[in-house]
């Protein structure tokens, strides 16, 4: 029976008195694959940060796995890929394996030590993402696409129940992007991993996600794809072309 893993209730957020999100409410159940879409500056990344407790909401409630996000401690259940690769300092002395190992810390108690036995798990996820051959390479020496896959591996290494990915395919070439979506689909289908994927790639999201969450400061749509495709309101909001692209490919 599906369980609510994310509950967002009447969420408001302002930055410097400018409203970024207004009265957003929705629930995500286990096993959902949600595509979070919206124009630039629509509040997608802010919404993700509020869900993860990285920003504090002005009004409203966010619950993760039934717990208020400010009290949430079961972080091993959540995998996260941040939006920006700019955090990647090219001079940072770290190998791919070291970075991926950081993903395991959420499941460890103090003092969070990476054991030798963790190496098998790390190698497994590197293999899955096709980056096993660069395990000992310094991250600063990798291409943008490879760096992105390293961060995806870090998000996935704990086998989390919920994966939140903020524009994960931005730096990937079409082949790597298709392969990445294939991996997500596999995770979703075989492990029942719930996924929230922020993307501008509305064509591809229609192929993989089973729910669509469309925001532009306010929640414009949340529901299944069939519902979206039949919605006259969506046609009015986005125009027949935009809706057609998503529905056609689904």
């Amino acid at each position: 029976m599906p369980v609510k893993i994310i509950e967002v209730d009447h969420l408001h957020f302002s930055y410097n008195a400018i409203p970024v999100l207004e009265d957003v409410s929705f629930c995500v159940e286990t096993g959902s694959f949600v595509g979070l879409v919206g124009p630039n500056g629509s509040g997608k990344t802010t919404l993700i940060k509020l869900i993860l407790g990285l920003a504090t909401c002005g009004r409203g409630v966010v619950r993760l796995f039934g717990q208020d996000v400010s009290d949430f401690r079961r972080w091993a259940n959540v995998g996260y890929l941040p939006q920006s690769l700019s955090a990647f300092n090219p001079y940072f002395p770290s190998t791919v394996r070291e970075i991926v190992a950081l993903g395991l810390l959420a499941g460890k108690r103090f003092p969070r030590i990476i054991a030798r036995s963790d190496r098998r798990v790390i190698d497994g996820v590197l293999d899955l993402l096709g980056i096993a051959s660069i395990g000992d390479t310094r991250v600063g020496e990798l291409s943008g696409g490879q760096q992105q896959r390293v961060l995806i591996a870090r998000a996935m290494v704990n086998e989390p129940e919920l994966l939140i990915l903020d524009e994960p395919t931005a730096a990937l070439d079409p082949e790597a992007r298709d392969s990445f979506f294939g991996i997500l689909k596999n995770l979703h289908e075989t492990r029942n991993t719930s996924i929230i994927l922020v993307t501008h790639d509305i064509g591809n999201i229609g192929k993989y996600a089973d729910h669509l969450l469309w925001i532009d400061r306010k929640l414009l749509f949340y529901g299944g794809f069939e519902e979206f495709c039949r919605s006259d309101r969506m046609t009015r909001l986005f125009g027949a072309d935009s809706q057609h692209i998503i529905c056609h490919r689904h």
Partner: protein, 276 residues
């Protein structure tokens, strides 16, 4: 006099033991601070140390006892200014350090009589370290290194990506506080080795030397520690052999190691490029 003969002297033994512990401390923290682009905090806190030493001398209290709590307090001030007053780290360091220097100058001027003492703290004298200072330095170094070791992976995660570290359940706010407090203790202890003016060199130079050569994070800290130890031990003996000021010689030895590492990296890159 050869090197082994120097080792018979108590003041040389104390200098080497104390210098080595502080070198380990600075090199480990230095890598973290440099990668977090917060390395100038060493310089800023050194300036605060100047003010706190002046305060200690003014009230005739052993300066280390005044400096440690006061510099720790100011390090928290820098952190809070960065977090709450919407200041970039360098600006917050600038605010606190200038107040430290100004306070020290005013106290020195008002007291009028301890300029010579203050001068000795500015440039340090590792060869003049007494037993008490040695014990305090070693004990605090062990405590600071133990804390870094215990939180090693948390610090690594936060240094690489603070947002991800928070989503891993790491309390980055507390960890940042711990890090600046450890930096404050390190700066005060380093003052006796190279003096207030050169504290940041001991934090930054071994770290940037390691960044020329290392592939991984642990590897960087190991290389940084080796470079710092080599510079302290080498610097002490070179200064004795050539009758040079020890603190400044340690810093110049560090710089030579950095230049060597830099040249080695360039040469290695050229060889690799030629082989391709």
């Amino acid at each position: 006099m050869d090197i082994l003969e120097y080792l018979h002297y108590g003041f040389i033994q104390r200098a080497l033991v104390c210098g080595s512990f502080i070198a380990l401390l600075c090199s480990t923290l230095g890598v973290i601070l440099v990668l977090r682009r917060f390395s100038l905090i060493g310089d800023g806190l050194a300036h605060v140390t100047f003010g706190s030493v002046a305060l200690g001398l003014f009230f005739r209290v052993y300066p280390l006892y005044v400096s440690i709590p006061l510099v720790m307090l100011c390090s928290l001030g820098i952190l809070k200014l960065t977090q709450r007053a919407r200041l970039y780290g360098d600006a917050a360091i600038g605010v606190v350090s200038s107040i430290g220097i100004a306070g020290g100058v005013i106290l020195a001027s008002v007291a009028g009589g301890f300029n010579v003492d203050l001068f000795s703290y500015l440039f340090g004298n590792i060869l003049a370290i007494g037993r008490d200072e040695l014990y305090i330095s070693v004990a605090l170094s062990v405590v600071v290194l133990a804390v870094i070791l215990l939180f090693f992976n948390d610090i690594f995660s936060m240094t690489f990506d603070e947002e991800f570290a928070r989503v891993s359940g790491i309390s980055t706010e507390k960890l940042n506080t711990v890090l600046v407090l450890l930096t404050a203790i390190t700066v005060v202890l380093t003052m006796s080795v190279v003096g207030i003016m050169l504290v940041s060199a001991l934090l930054i130079l071994p770290a940037v030397t390691a960044l020329q050569l290392s592939r991984g994070f642990r590897n960087a800290i190991l290389i940084s520690a080796c470079a710092a130890l080599a510079a302290v031990v080498g610097g002490v003996f070179i200064s004795l052999a050539m009758n040079l000021p020890t603190g400044a010689t340690i810093v110049m030895t560090n710089f030579l190691l950095f230049l060597s590492a830099f040249a080695f990296r360039l040469a290695r890159q050229r060889i690799l490029a030629a082989n391709h």
